[in-house]
Structure formats: structure tokens, C-alpha cells
């Protein structure tokens, strides 16, 4: 089944770069929607059903942290996994993001294969390393 995704980043170049990485990573991808901040992301999520959200943290209007909090507090949106794709950050901040509902964190810059591995892991299709 093709995955529909929402890419949230205030940088248009990064949104396109993430789209490109998604295309290169070998997953079956359906529609890829874009939003420039957390508030736009919530508007897109009201219009489109997506299987996964890839979101930056450092954004104007509504940052990624608030987006994750808002999604976690919504009975429907809380079911959509969020991968944070952001610049390197402190361990405390990563823990906080995972605590409030983000499913994973991927540091920029990243390889398409790393994104693919995370997506498959979240979908429960990843290789077992245990």
C-alpha cells in the first residue's frame, strides 16, 4: 500500500529535499503534501488523510514541538506517527519530543536509507536487531 505523507518545514528547499529523499528511499509513496509550519500542517491534516508526518522543529508561527503536542492531544491525529527531521539537538530536547508523542528523531543531514529504515521500523516492517 502506498504511503501518503506530510512534510512540514519552513524551508522550501528542505521540503523539496525531503520529498526527493522520500522518492529515492525505495518505499512505495502515494501523495506527499507540504506545510511551512505547524499551523499549516494542522490545516493540511484536516484536509487530507496521511500515514505519516515528517516535521522540522525550528519553525515560525507554530514550531514542531507544539505541532506534536497538538497532534498527541487529538484522538484522530494522535494515531499518525510523527518523525522529527531536524538539526542536531540536545538529548533533553529529543527525550522531551519522544515523551510528548513523536515516534522518532532523524538528524539533518540524513541519508535516504536512514529515513527508509525509520519508516519501516515505525510501520513494524523493519529488520529485527534484537
Amino acid at each position: 500500500m502506498a504511503l501518503d505523507m506530510l512534510v512540514v518545514d519552513d524551508s522550501p528547499v528542505t521540503r523539496k529535499m525531503v520529498r526527493r529523499a522520500i522518492g529515492l528511499c525505495g518505499l512505495e509513496i502515494g501523495q506527499v503534501h507540504e506545510a511551512g509550519d505547524g499551523a499549516e500542517a494542522l490545516a493540511r491534516l484536516a484536509e487530507h488523510r496521511v500515514d505519516m508526518v515528517l516535521a522540522d522543529i525550528n519553525m515560525p508561527v507554530m514550531n514542531g514541538m507544539e505541532l506534536v503536542e497538538r497532534m498527541s492531544g487529538d484522538p484522530v491525529l494522535s494515531r499518525i506517527p510523527v518523525i522529527i527531521v531536524a538539526t542536531p539537538m540536545s538529548e533533553q530536547r529529543i527525550e522531551r519530543l519522544l515523551d510528548i508523542g513523536a515516534r522518532a528523531y532523524l538528524a539533518k543531514p540524513f541519508r535516504p536509507e536512514a529515513l527508509k529504515d525509520l519508516v519501516l521500523e515505525i510501520l513494524g516492517k523493519g529488520e529485527s536487531h534484537g
Partner: protein
């Protein structure tokens, strides 16, 4: 804590350009003169100490960055249009790499939002350290740090 060295900034600059946009850079003398307009981006940060990072690059560097990040040719209008945004995003990644490598990942750090423009080069009033490199094309790139 000792101030960051130019070598640290050079290493971060080289790594981020390579990993973000497959661009290789090498250390070079800081240019005496710049083109009339350059891409200039600034990024404020807060951590154990606050400060500002400033990235200055010749216009072709921004266009090549955008082309490589978008997977298009440097002559493509999309690359030309996105040069400023590419410089801004690269400084954002440099900022994250700098605060986690210099201050560590155990302390809270916060990046501001990068501001980028196409404008004449204006040297900052003061700086703690700087790294000057050249792209393979020979075009200059300068990363300057001002720690409070």
C-alpha cells in the same frame, strides 16, 4: 571553556556542505574583496553561552547548494530562485552541529530562525572565530562566530 577554534568551524563547515549538498570545500585565505552582492545568513543561538553565526557565500555557491539539494542543474531557474533558501538551511544545520559539538548534547541549546539575504558583504562588528574556505569552483565561503 576555551573559545571555539577556527579548525572546529572549518570542520563543521566542510562536513555540513559535504553531507547536505555533496559539495567539497577546502581551507583558504579570507578574501580581501567580495563580489558586490553575496548571500549572507545569520543565526542566533542560546546555550551555555549565546551567540550568533554568520555565513557569507558568493552567489554561485548558493545556487550550487540549491541545485545539489534539489537534484537539479545549477542553470535551472529553480536552483537560482532557491539560492538564498539553501544558504539559510545550510546555516541552520551548521548551527545545530555547532551547538551540539561545542557545548555538547547534555545541555539545553536553542537555535533561532536563520535570516538570509542577497546583499553587499558587511563585516560583523566583532567575532570570536572564523573559518574561510573555497568551493571547488573557487568561490569563497566564510563562517563567522560571535560568542557573547
Amino acid at each position: 571553556m576555551a573559545d571555539p577554534t577556527p579548525e572546529l568551524l572549518t570542520d563543521i563547515l566542510g562536513t555540513v556542505f559535504q553531507e547536505t549538498a555533496f559539495m567539497f570545500v577546502e581551507p583558504a585565505e579570507e578574501p580581501d574583496q567580495w563580489d558586490p552582492t553575496v548571500f549572507s545568513a545569520t543565526l542566533a543561538f542560546e546555550s551555555v553561552r549565546g551567540g550568533t553565526l554568520r555565513l557569507t557565500a558568493a552567489v554561485p555557491v548558493g545556487v550550487e547548494l540549491a541545485a545539489n539539494m534539489l537534484g537539479c542543474d545549477a542553470a535551472d531557474p529553480e536552483a537560482v530562485e532557491n539560492g538564498r533558501a539553501a544558504i539559510s538551511e545550510v546555516l541552520n544545520v551548521i548551527g545545530g552541529a555547532f551547538v551540539t559539538r561545542y557545548f555538547g548534547t547534555k545541555v539545553p541549546s536553542q537555535l533561532g530562525l536563520p535570516q538570509a539575504a542577497l546583499e553587499p558583504r558587511v563585516a560583523p562588528a566583532k567575532r570570536t572565530a572564523a573559518a574561510s574556505v573555497r568551493a571547488e569552483s573557487g568561490d569563497p565561503i566564510l563562517l563567522e562566530l560571535d560568542l557573547e
